[in-house]
């Protein structure tokens, strides 16, 4: 009898506690859609193997036509000539300021002229 009374009291206290407790705050969930376009991933490619030394190499300096790039690459050319006298320095400014349709024709000509290239100055 005593055991059942205790159980009754415990149950009453539990229910009473539920009634007295502050109601749980109602959380709100907003479902949204992703605004970004999916990108078809490009096929990745490695970069070309390096050379063991610049000695004796033909180095093409590609001026991209932005203001000051010619000056900067001229300084680089001078430094290369001093440190690698056996190297050949080829200055090959981009032939045109028109940037998109010309390039596929022009890239192979850079490759024909040298073993390495240095491009600048990208901005």
């Amino acid at each position: 009898m005593k055991r059942s009374t205790n159980r009754f009291l415990a149950g009453a206290l539990f229910l009473g506690g539920l009634c007295l407790a502050r109601p749980a705050s109602a959380q709100v969930t907003i479902e949204v859609m992703n605004p970004r376009g999916e990108i078809p991933p490009p096929k990745t490619m490695g970069i070309s193997p390096r050379v063991p030394s610049l000695d004796g190499k033909r180095i093409v300096l590609v001026d991209n036509g932005k203001f000051g790039a010619d000056n900067f690459l001229a300084v680089i050319a001078q430094m290369l000539k001093q440190k690698y006298p056996s190297a050949t320095i080829v200055m090959d400014p981009k032939p045109s300021a028109q940037t998109i349709t010309d390039l596929p024709k022009w890239y192979p000509t850079v490759k024909q002229q040298g073993d390495l290239f240095i491009f600048g100055v990208g901005d």
């Binding site: 949204v32 605004p35 999916e38 990108i39 970069i47 300021a97 850079v110 390495l116």
Partner: protein, 460 residues
């Protein structure tokens, strides 16, 4: 061919992003200190210490053996962008704030609050068009994100656009994503260009686009939210972000809504602009173009002006911004305020004759160009034009005109043909006349018909 790229510290993220986009994430780069390089680049003497500081790294990048990852980089995995996101807050206000924080932190928003693009709201947007949600309009530069009707609807909801505006937004996106349109330039160039969006036809009136006083300003929901929907769509479909791969140096002066307005066809003395392009009067169209910030040519409520003075100012301005002489792609949009257009009509000008007048008066004597540099590297102006003739960028039917012009006594046009001057009537009475100019290297002007509208009488 082994190589190394010089860039500057401000452009490293941009260069890496571009290299990854093109599938060569391992490209070796040397970054010059931007705070020193740009100040020093005018003279070799000042560049010497900058070059000396990076010289060893440059040589090392040319001789250091490749790592395994550089030789054979891991295949870039596709980002899955089609999964919905659930954001939970303690109440609606908290959840709304968290959505906005998430979108801005993810570089999906423009910095102003967005409307959360819930599936319900996106579905409502899609009801405004008969075009399939899965229809692909194109790949958006610079990262080539796939632009579907549904994705544009998501961005349109975010912008606060009404569903009935959606077919206009789609038509504008048709223009930006046209394969002839150089979207990369306006999305990424340091030149800080801004899109111009012009709505023509009955849908402009039905949707209450502003074409009068304040046409480039705030206060008209159609102008503001159509422009903002395009802003957000280009941001999210092309996946750009300022100072990462959108290198617009000043930002765009109308970055949030672009220059979005309608032609005031009722106050024009001529046929509507799009009708002059061959569309029918009952058609509705959207023209998108890339432009510098517009120049005010004259007009206004205080100072006196004349129609001839405005035309003369247009000529001066157009010649001033045509420096690179990319005549194959340069375009101009002359926005005449109604009083000026009326006066020009009274003087007997038609749209065609006005285009021809501008073409003739902006042409530059050959002798003034012969020694001129484009200001862009080593390219000379006349060589640049000759190359455009040789490779067909100047259309065959116009090439002979330019061949004749590139001789002593010749006059060299600054555009391919007179209709590269686009003349539109808009603004108040009184108002100002404006010139939008695009001296870009590739084509950036397209007009597309509004189609598939279900919630408006026009544009169906």
């Amino acid at each position: 061919m082994p190589g190394v790229y010089f860039t500057t510290t401000e452009f490293v993220d941009d260069a890496k992003s571009a290299a990854k986009d093109r599938g060569m994430p391992g490209i070796r780069m040397v970054a010059l200190p931007a705070d020193k390089y740009y100040r020093a680049r005018a003279t070799r003497e000042e560049l010497e210490p900058i070059a000396a500081a990076v010289y060893d790294q440059m040589v090392d990048d040319l001789v250091r053996p490749l790592t395994a990852e550089e030789a054979k980089p891991s295949q870039i995995q596709k980002q899955h962008e089609n999964t919905n996101i659930k954001v939970t807050g303690t109440d609606y206000q908290d959840a709304y704030q968290k959505v906005n924080d998430l979108f801005l932190d993810s570089h999906w928003a423009d910095g102003l609050p967005i409307v959360p693009p819930t599936p319900t709201l996106v579905k409502a947007m899609l009801t405004a068009t008969t075009r399939s949600p899965d229809e692909v309009l194109g790949q958006a530069a610079p990262k080539n994100g796939t632009a579907t009707v549904e994705k544009i609807a998501v961005n349109s909801v975010m912008a606060g656009a009404k569903p009935e505006y959606f077919p206009v937004i789609l038509a504008a996106m048709d223009g930006f994503l046209d394969r002839h349109y150089d979207l990369t330039h306006v999305q990424a160039s340091t030149g800080s260009f801004t899109p111009v969006v012009i709505v023509n036809g009955p849908i402009a009136r039905e949707l209450n686009f502003n074409s009068g006083i304040g046409m480039l300003g705030h206060g008209w929901r159609a102008n503001s939210t159509v422009g903002r929907a395009l802003r957000l769509s280009l941001l999210n479909l092309g996946q750009t972000w300022p100072a990462v791969n959108d290198m617009s140096l000043t930002g765009r002066l109308e970055s949030y809504t672009f220059f979005t307005f309608a032609e005031d066809e009722a106050k024009s003395p001529w046929e509507p602009y799009d009708v002059s392009l061959g569309y029918k009067p009952e058609d509705s169209t959207v023209t998108v173009a890339t432009s510098r910030n517009p120049a005010i040519l004259g007009g206004g409520a205080v100072a006196p002006w004349t129609a001839q003075g405005i035309l003369d100012a247009a000529v001066t301005q157009a010649k001033a911004v045509s420096g690179f002489m990319w005549v194959h792609s340069q375009t101009y949009i002359l926005v005449l305020h109604p009083d000026c257009a009326y006066e020009l009509g009274r003087l007997g000008y038609t749209r065609k004759s006005l285009e021809q007048w501008l073409y003739d008066h902006t042409s530059i004597p050959y002798e003034k160009l012969v020694e001129g540099s484009t200001g862009f590297g080593h390219a000379k102006v006349i060589d640049e034009i000759q190359q455009s003739i040789d490779d067909g960028r100047i259309r065959p039917d116009r090439a002979q005109i330019f061949r004749e012009a590139l001789k002593p006594g010749g006059k060299v046009p600054i555009v391919q043909s007179p209709d590269d001057f686009h003349i539109v009537v808009a603004g108040g009475s009184p108002g100002y006349s404006l010139l939008f100019s695009y001296p870009g290297p590739n084509w950036a002007n397209e007009t597309k018909k509004v189609r598939g509208a279900t919630l408006t009488k026009a544009g169906q």
